[in-house]
Structures are given as C-alpha cells and as structure tokens.
Amino acid sequence: MKGKYLLGILVILGALGYMVFGGLGRNLVYFLTPSEYLQDQARYQNRPVRLGGLVKPGTVQYDKDRLELRFVLTDGVAEVPVLHKGTPPGMFKEGQGVVVEGRFQEGVFQGTNLLVKHSETYQPPKEGWTPEEVRKLIEEAQ
C-alpha cells in the first residue's frame, strides 16, 4: 500500500517538474524581446505577440488630436518602431520598461495594448513629498 502512494506522488511530481522545467517552459514566455522577434520573424508573422523592452529616450511622439503614440522599443541590441493608438498610461515615460501587445504591419509594430512595467524598488522622492510637491513631480513625469 505504501509503495502505491509513493509511486503516485512520484508520478505527479515528475509530471509537474516536466511541466515547469521542460516543454511547457518554452511556451510560457510572456513577452519576446525585439532581438528575439527579429531573429525568428517568419514564425511570428501576422500573429499577435507581446514585445517587451525599454522605451528609447528621445523617441516618444504623442499626437494628442489623433491619439497616436509613437516610440521606439529597444532591448539594447535591436530596436522596433511602435505605433499605439490611445493615450499613454500614467506611468509611461522615456526609459521605462514596457510590454506591448499587437502585431507587425509594414515594418511598424501596431500595439493594441500597452502595459507599463515598474521596478520592485520603492523610494520616497528625494525632494520631499508634500501633496503639492508630489503633484508637481507627477506632472513633470508626464
């Protein structure tokens, strides 16, 4: 009886281990970096993908009237131009880590959803943090 239970537990642990570290791991990639995408372009053609990287400083253009946000996504090696229709999220800024959902069309990545990544480090702002100062800080960031 003991052996039967032990065998069952081993089978379940083995299956879980395989799922976590084996075949499933490769399909569990939440986002691709621009380099990974450009290396294997044919595979992702006309398929919705998520691209993750940093917003390249100095490339952000936002057209307020047409709600078109353009920027370049970079992973330090490769760069991808992104066009996102809609307002930028509150924490979107240059140099920020972002994940864009969408697909490529005519060499431009057409984003349908823009997600902003933030770091695990929490610090109060250096200048002080009365409500007025924080409001100014938030306004400056935009």
Binding site: V20, V29, F31, M91, L115, V116, K117, Y122
Partner: protein, 228 residues
C-alpha cells in the same frame, strides 16, 4: 476521539489574537496613510500595504493546511483535518483579496486589471486549486474519505505556493520581483516604507491566527451538530 471536551466558546488566546489584530488595524491604516509616496508611482504605492499582507496570509494559510493535511494522513485525527480546512478557508479569502487588491493596483500602474503573465496566472491556478479543495469536501459524504481526499489536495495543492512565489524569477513577467526577497535576503524599499509594511504583515498574521482558531471552533460545533 477527543482527549478533552470540545470548547463551546473561543478561548483567551483566540480573543487575544482577534482583539489585538482588530485594535491594531486602524493604527496600520494611519501608518499607511502617513507613509511617504513612491518616487515613481506616488501614493499608489500604498496599495502595497494591503496587497502584500493579504498575499502573505494566503501563502501562510495554505502552508498550515499543508502541514495539518500531512499530519492527518499520518495520524488520522479529525482535529488535524479541521485545522487544515479552517486554514484553507481563510487562505482562500485572503488569496482572493490579494488578487483583487493586485488588480486595483495593476490598473493605474501597468494599465490593465489583468494579463496572463506568470505571477498572475500561477496565483489564479493556486486560487482555483483551493476552490477545488472545498468543492471536493462538499462532494464526498463519507467523513473519513472526505478528510483523506481533502488532505491529499491540501498537500499537493501547496506545490503551487512556491511556484507562485518564485514565478517572477523563473519566468519573464510583468509583475515586479519581490521587494523583500526571501531567497537573497535583499530589501528594495526605503526603511520608512518597510517598517509600515512589516507592521501590516504582523497585524495580518495576528488576525490570521485569531481567524483560524475561531474557524476551527466553529468546525467543532458544526461536526457536533452533524453527529447529533
């Protein structure tokens, strides 16, 4: 067989946990509202003081369920099963709160309420497993079989806790990695924020201890009624 007559009222320790927890909660709220904002996300960071402790109590409660499920499998003592079930119930509530507070935090910071990224997906699976735990308990009439089956789920389901905790390191995710990293011992938080968070973690742990003892007592009364 019970060694002592089952209590019909919560004992002093249960009241002490609940009393301190409930009394210190408003103080925690005050501390959270007095804590400095974050340089990047401003006052939004305060959701952390609710989000992290609820997730912690969820993980802790499922760990207690795991321990008492194992004990039940070895000793076949119904008391251990009652603690396991009580803890799983509280864990489910707090895990649900962690998911909800996480969604409320995600919308203004990430831009969406939900996305199928590793931490969120593994935590949703974790939540679903413990919903299954109670479905299973409700579906089996024979008490002994029910306890055994539930204990098996309580042990195997706990596997999801380390997976959920480590998901932000094992896979590429949108969720940030741990600010209090138990694997490396590094803390990425200003001390005045850390103190407030640790205070909340302590208060929520007190509340958990009170809840689980209280729920265990209710389970005793339920069982007595079922047998009568």
């Amino acid at each position: 067989m019970q060694k002592t007559a089952p209590l019909s009222r919560p004992d002093g320790l249960t009241w002490a946990f609940l009393g301190f927890g409930v009394l210190l909660l408003p103080l925690g709220l005050y501390l959270a509202l007095a804590a400095p904002p974050d340089a990047n996300q401003g006052y939004l960071v305060r959701i952390m003081y609710l989000h992290v402790p609820t997730a912690w109590v969820g993980y802790l409660a499922f760990f207690v369920t795991f321990l008492y499920s194992l004990l039940y499998l070895f000793r076949q003592d119904p008391r251990h099963d009652r603690v396991a079930a009580a803890s799983a119930e509280i864990g489910l509530v707090f895990m649900g709160l962690a998911l909800v507070t996480g969604m409320l935090w995600a919308r203004p910071t990430w831009g969406v309420y939900w996305t199928w990224e590793p931490r969120l997906t593994t935590t949703a699976i974790l939540f679903a497993v413990y919903v299954g735990y109670f479905l299973l308990r409700g579906a089996i009439e024979d008490p002994e079989l029910r306890r055994k089956a539930a204990a098996a789920v309580g042990v195997l389901g706990f596997l999801n806790v380390p997976i959920s905790y480590m998901s932000v390191k094992w896979w590429r995710s949108l969720h940030q990695t741990q600010s209090i990293d138990l694997t490396t011992g590094k803390i990425h938080m200003a001390p005045e924020m850390l103190q407030v968070l640790l205070f909340h973690l302590a208060v929520f742990t007190l509340l958990y201890l009170g809840f689980v003892r209280f729920r265990g007592l209710v389970a005793v009364l339920e069982e007595a009624k079922e047998e009568a």
